[in-house]
């Protein structure tokens, strides 16, 4: 685990309670701060451009604009920002799809207990994480 490195993280998920849970998990890690939240793809893009987080945690299925489209846009306009896709459902080719959209990682929500912190730490040092 990379201790001590401070990270600024943006959470993009349409469910406030899920955002709350992710925030709790992340902020239990020393030095990590949730700098903002977004409830849909469009907001994720706007806030990323404005806040310039180190990592964006991106839910796949959001209204208005989904996580993959938002990832593509962020990848092209803010290439220094790492995107971690967080999704409810596994589907074949999930990892490849996420990668092709420009994400550096992908974790299933059901695995978040085990993998979320690890994934974010990985992305924080620019190491991809496709553990799911």
């Amino acid at each position: 685990m990379v201790a001590g490195k401070s990270l600024r993280i943006l959470i993009a998920d349409d469910q406030p309670l899920v955002r709350r849970a992710i925030r709790l998990l992340l902020e239990s890690h020393a030095g990590w701060k949730v700098c903002g939240e977004a409830a849909d793809g469009r907001e994720a893009i706007t806030k990323t451009k404005e806040l310039k987080p180190d990592v964006v945690i991106m839910d796949l299925s959001m209204p208005s604009m989904n996580g993959l489209d938002a990832t593509r846009e962020i990848h092209s306009s803010c290439p220094q920002t790492q995107v971690l896709i967080l999704t409810l459902y596994h589907f074949p080719e999930l990892a490849r799809t996420a990668q092709r959209a420009g994400a550096q990682g992908c974790v299933l929500k059901s695995d978040s207990n085990r993998y979320l912190i690890l994934a974010v730490a990985s992305l924080g040092i620019s190491q991809p994480f496709f553990g799911a």
Partner: protein, 218 residues
């Protein structure tokens, strides 16, 4: 501040955590248990008798509507708050019929969930403005009979409703006949029809029905 015991039933770990974290902040509120499936929700509700069950509608092993129905039937003092991914008027209709009095979507705010729990803990119904819109939206101007609370009650004639009240008040058929100015035979016919329509078998059932529907005071 009143103590409220809450059972959280959702098969998604992150969601359960978020709910717990939110509700535990409220003084006096206690998460007395958790469930990951519909069946587990029913079992734990029976065992723990919580004040409110937050029930995710889409859990495996026993669908949410059926789980809600069983919980409301076995433990009428336990309120069920349905927690759903989407708004659906079909779903709302089904849960109302199952005895559920609370509905919140997962995309609604934290604040909505807190108010929902508060309201249900006081045994009052809670539907978000959006849910209310969905319900009203399916009316096309006039609520269909199936939406009326106690739709069975609505099927009684107005004379039958009068008879229900008098019988539930303890009057004999003879007294009812004389109160209403009809024959005893007519009263007996009304009584038989009432019992059949409401699927009741004894006078005690009738009284209980009348109290529940606020036809008479307990």
């Amino acid at each position: 501040m009143n103590a409220v015991r809450i059972l959280v039933a959702d098969d998604h770990d992150l969601m359960r955590r978020g709910i717990k974290s939110l509700l535990q902040q409220h003084p006096g509120w206690e998460i007395c248990g958790e469930a990951h499936t519909g069946r587990e929700a029913v079992e734990k509700a029976e065992e723990l008798r919580p004040d409110v069950v937050i029930l995710d509608i889409s859990m495996p092993d026993l669908n949410g509507v059926e789980a809600a129905r069983r919980i409301r039937t076995s433990s009428p003092n336990t309120e069920v708050l349905i927690f759903s991914m989407h708004y659906s008027d079909q779903l709302i209709r089904e849960i109302l019929a199952a005895g559920v009095r609370g509905y919140v979507a997962k995309s609604d705010s934290d604040r909505d969930l807190v108010i929902a729990v508060e309201t249900l803990a006081n045994h009052k119904p809670f539907f978000t403005p959006r849910a209310t819109e969905v319900i009203l939206g399916s009316f096309d101007g006039k609520p269909p009979r199936a939406w009326m609370p106690e739709s069975i009650h609505g099927r009684l004639t107005s004379r039958e409703r009068e008879v229900v009240q008098l019988l539930a008040e303890g009057k004999s058929s003879k007294d009812v006949a004389s109160s209403l100015g009809i024959s005893v035979k007519t009263v007996e016919t009304h009584r038989a029809n009432i019992m059949r329509k409401l699927q009741l078998h004894t006078v005690t059932d009738l009284v209980r029905y009348a109290v529940r529907n606020q036809i008479i005071e307990p």
